[in-house]
Symmetry: C2
Subunit: 380 residues, 2 copies
Amino acid sequence: MPFRIQIRFRDEASEVSTSSDIDRITRELQGRIADYQDHFSRVFAQYFEDLQRNFDGPAESRFTARSLELLGHLSLRGGKRQRVAFLYEAARLVTAEPVPGLDEAALSIELLQTHLLVHDDIIDDAPTRRGGPSTYYAYREEFPQHPQTALGLALLAGDLAAFLSLQVLLDSGLPVALRHALVDVQTRAAAATFVGQMFDLERDFPQIPSEELLNSVSDYKASRSSALAPIQLGLLVAGEDPVEHAETLRRYALMFGISGQMCDDYLSLFGDERVTGKPNTADVRDGRRTYAIRAVLATATETERVRIESILGRPDCTAADIDCLRDIAQHHRVDRELRSKMHRYAELACREAAGWRDCWHDDAVTFFERVPVWGVERTL
Amino acid sequence: MPFRIQIRFRDEASEVSTSSDIDRITRELQGRIADYQDHFSRVFAQYFEDLQRNFDGPAESRFTARSLELLGHLSLRGGKRQRVAFLYEAARLVTAEPVPGLDEAALSIELLQTHLLVHDDIIDDAPTRRGGPSTYYAYREEFPQHPQTALGLALLAGDLAAFLSLQVLLDSGLPVALRHALVDVQTRAAAATFVGQMFDLERDFPQIPSEELLNSVSDYKASRSSALAPIQLGLLVAGEDPVEHAETLRRYALMFGISGQMCDDYLSLFGDERVTGKPNTADVRDGRRTYAIRAVLATATETERVRIESILGRPDCTAADIDCLRDIAQHHRVDRELRSKMHRYAELACREAAGWRDCWHDDAVTFFERVPVWGVERTL
């Protein structure tokens, strides 16, 4: 692992030269992210505890209370909280002092994420999420005789999470202009994500989508809400206007997002199911033209392509089918090419962040510089 | 019709004494609402035209453009625009001068309504809405082989409409504190509505819900977003703080909402399908314990109740079943009792509005005073 990081950082040999330096940086990065996770877990748990008590809903409605409970379960099961780390570090770009409003911004980010996951699992008809039942399937379990009620409740719980995500900002007690700016960021990020998700569904219809198209999907679907918005929110809370840095932030988020999406897509097809927690058949069975599957289709011979298209979207797709697809991919070195590409995008993000040294705190700049490559490396 | 209005207004004999007065008031009311409808239709059509041009989405995504188109179709097919009339009249409570921001507030209200309708038709699996296909079924028509894609696109289009509803306020160029207050009203109204919709689903599970429970459902599901929020927004835009009138506005919205919901529920069961455009079997088939069905259940004999329960929720429920239910209802005078109740609630709303004369413009107060009873009368 350190060796590979050393290769990735080879262009910055003057800064990072020994494997013990890399170990130290990795430990530091992990330590900081873990601290944010710990802190935010407590904040989020407290939020849901308060919500159950103070929520403006009819006291006699069990369904309302249950929806808050299920939103809490899904939200508190976590995930990596990468967005939260981005938010806190973005504030540290500006100041090392604690600033009020960061926790509320973090809650907003993760509540919007909860909204997206709840609806995403309806769209994908997904039974599980974050190592537990999806909200949709939790309701299906509770209403085995009423699938339409289960669908309705899951959909409404997701809708509720979206507006709770804004309410937490509106109720933050921050200066009104700041509150307004934060809501504006989240509203745009949400709209972009829905567009990205539609575009993602569209991607699976044409024969072979271009890589540019997948980059654009990734931009709308992930980069803006997962990378750009958290950084914008962190800067805003710390008193900096992100509009003045719009271009570089957009580029950073885009490169980071593409790299991360490529990595996810790669792992879905080539990774170890025991590590990813997701069957390798999933993307193929759903006919998803991910970066990985697109790359195989684009380099395959005509015969191979016909074979791949016959597997894609088949509900009964087997492990042997996946092996066949992987063989074709490895024959054309698609897996190596993809690993190399995701590193290149991660490095582009790193270099973008390196340019922030002129105006922002060194310590946090280093975080944004390191995290894209580290994100790719730690999962491969 | 005038006669019945006269009866309703009997406590205000000094103000409204002749049938020609009533006719004049009715014509005035209709004229004002029609003017708002006309004006808003143009504003809304222009909004969707601009949206297609300026939307921040990937140019190459047909799915994105199509979602905006379908949201436009549903939105522009209209409905009564009662909320819009409430908004404009609420501003006129404060000032007869035109005030900037009213159109943006109207757009926000109707975009949120579009969001609610799109998701509601997924929840109810409803093929039609406002005399055309529901967004969900428009997509199902376009993707006959991919029902899950159709579901996903409809869900995402609905999500998008919700955030467009806020974006239009954020982009309004109004003073930032006002923008913030408007967003706050809409966010709370949306959250209340989701809760009301969950509560509405819950209502259909217990044996016989109490009337108080149905009032609470109506409060959350309809009153707040359809009556309270438009009035709050209109006052805010006109420079008045609705918080100072919170109690009377809440009571007005609640009474108006209950009366309207009772009226809808009554018509669903007892009304003329050719007028309502909705089969009389719909509520019964879906097992919906509406005000009307609850009232029949609550007054029926044990034998009758068993018979009604055997019909409720049956997908193959027939016109003959409905006739049987109606016979039971009429035997117990449930239909008359319900008509009388919805009038009483409408009158309570009228009286609440009458109290606004002390602080607000007479002309607009009269509107809010007249509209609840008129709303009931014109549909019965």
